[in-house]
Symmetry: D3
Subunit: 137 residues, 6 copies
């Protein structure tokens, strides 16, 4: 189920086809996952989303590709996005994430969630030492 | 403000003192941040929380220390834990996170949040290719 | 799957039947969606929930019906309520939401999520200009 | 700071005064906390909110008063509502919550958050045994 | 679907078998639900998770078993963990939660969510009366 | 407090100055709120964030400006972003949101949160009628 139609002929729209072709070329695969098929209901939204995902996740940047995927998974878990957890876990595994690294990622996410809830429950006052705004640059 | 008292004499309890001493020894600093001072209202909760934070975040494991802090920050942002965002950003900077890495971390967290909300809004159906449970091991 | 039974004969309870009849009359349809069938496990919870949904969402108020549905969808996405996203997107479409409006709604939700995470990650200090409590009335 | 004015003379509106009087009578105190002062910017919203809070939280029901406050705190922590965590922790303490019970409440909230993130990260498939909808009534 | 394989022969690993045996002995049932089967992909994560769940949820503590399950459900709902909502609702029912108690639990969770969003939307300033950190102990 | 320095001389960087000048020109005010001052620690992040906020929120699109701000506020409340709630409530008021509209917005957000938590707590099964993916286009 989805809240928009996933059209089989989405690529009859040249803007959609251009994005799908770029996804295939960038990822070196014919597989277009459902996220993009769903976004194709609005070519503008598809274009802007893919452009930004490509720029950050499919292009060399400061952080290494696997670290980026692990951060992405962490956010997706905390935001309870089932689709994103699946797709980015698959992406991280494709980029070499081992079972041991996966388990440690989940352990850190779970530990952070635990202390997030403790700190919020205690309403811990901020230590002035943490204030970057007050520090000399 | 906090939901528990942050006692000035918390270390008069030997269990609290033992944890605080271990925090100081492990982190090589005299600074005990408010999270631990707040948790000291219950020595058992303080002990179990510190034991697990120490084992994962203050001990060499598979992932490097900075990656672990970045994952921690990502979860804390998504869970809106103000204290945790401050404390772990400070920790990441202490472990060498540059402004460029910080900016990229925030960009990935923001991109993930954006696509999390898009995927949830579209209720994108899972692609069978993502199913790890069905794969031969 | 559900955490309560969805009874086929829920309307044998006159309180449930009265609510279902009012839903049918208000919405001018015979379709009772599963939300109400599930809530029927407790007639009091069903009555109070429907009364408040009807008063705000099925009655003319200050905001127009489509705006109200779009706000409802936005909250449901951020809270990751799959059922609510589906049901209120269907409701918004029934009230005339076009694909273009749907795409723009999702774009705004995604932009807000992105800046929410940025502002939380940066822990941006509040500008005193935003303080409504301090303003003369 | 607040997004609405907290008027000193809010009770010059008879609808606001009636609610504030009922809060004072119900709680047997002159203290009107800021939640109600803020809601007073719209008497209708103030009335409906207080009516429902009173009916569930200030009236004997199936669950005992302290259990209800602890559930309220748990939800407020997970939703990161700083004000609600403070006000309901104070309410729970006023109803007899000991430091030991408070610590155990926080430990359960933290454990739940931890396994919530693990289960979401693993995308654990539902066991058919959990399906209440399928069970004979 | 899951992000890890749920191995049929997980118990061929003696560490997994030891945990599963302890789950069966503690719960007095042969049923091992999928949460543990999924966690078995990493014996260390399985061991530490079960140890802490057992200590808090399957051992007599200050709070009674049903209250603990209700708090757990409340957090799981707010964090939108579908699996956890199902498994802990089933556990609460096994511990005697009636339909009336279930309905009241949901009503409180819903009321808390409602006032959480109101208080956050209004950005209600904290009342100094709520500050436990400032109180004499 | 913030996790980055808010530099007084941020505009000595020409990229920052160009964005700040565009904010001033677009909004017809000299006021640069702290969100942009904080983002200025990384000119690239500042540029991309402002470009997208400007394109959607400060440019005529399908939805009217006030509706867009109300959707933005709704998401910010659900994500518990204190800064965003303040800044976008101020923006909505500047665009004409009355107290009555504000109260109704908050009432809808609170109602959605309430039914989000009910639907998640009940794990209401999706009605096939909501499936847009299955509908003929």
């Amino acid at each position: 189920m989805a809240t928009v139609a996933l059209a089989d002929d989405a690529e009859s729209d040249p803007r959609v086809k251009a994005v799908f072709d770029d996804i295939r070329a960038t990822r070196k695969t014919d597989f277009i996952n459902n996220m993009w098929r769903a976004l194709a209901f609005d070519p503008g939204l598809l274009e802007s989303t893919w452009a930004d995902v490509k720029a950050l996740m499919a292009t060399p940047t400061l952080l290494d590709p696997l670290t980026k995927e692990m951060v992405y998974i962490a956010v997706s878990i905390a935001n309870s996005c089932s689709y994103c957890i699946h797709s980015h876990t698959a992406a991280a595994k494709a980029k070499g994430m081992t079972d041991g690294q996966h388990a440690e990622l989940l352990a850190i996410v779970a530990l952070a969630a635990r202390t997030n809830h403790l700190a919020n429950g205690l309403q811990v006052p901020l230590d002035p030492q943490f204030d970057m705004a007050a520090r000399p640059q």
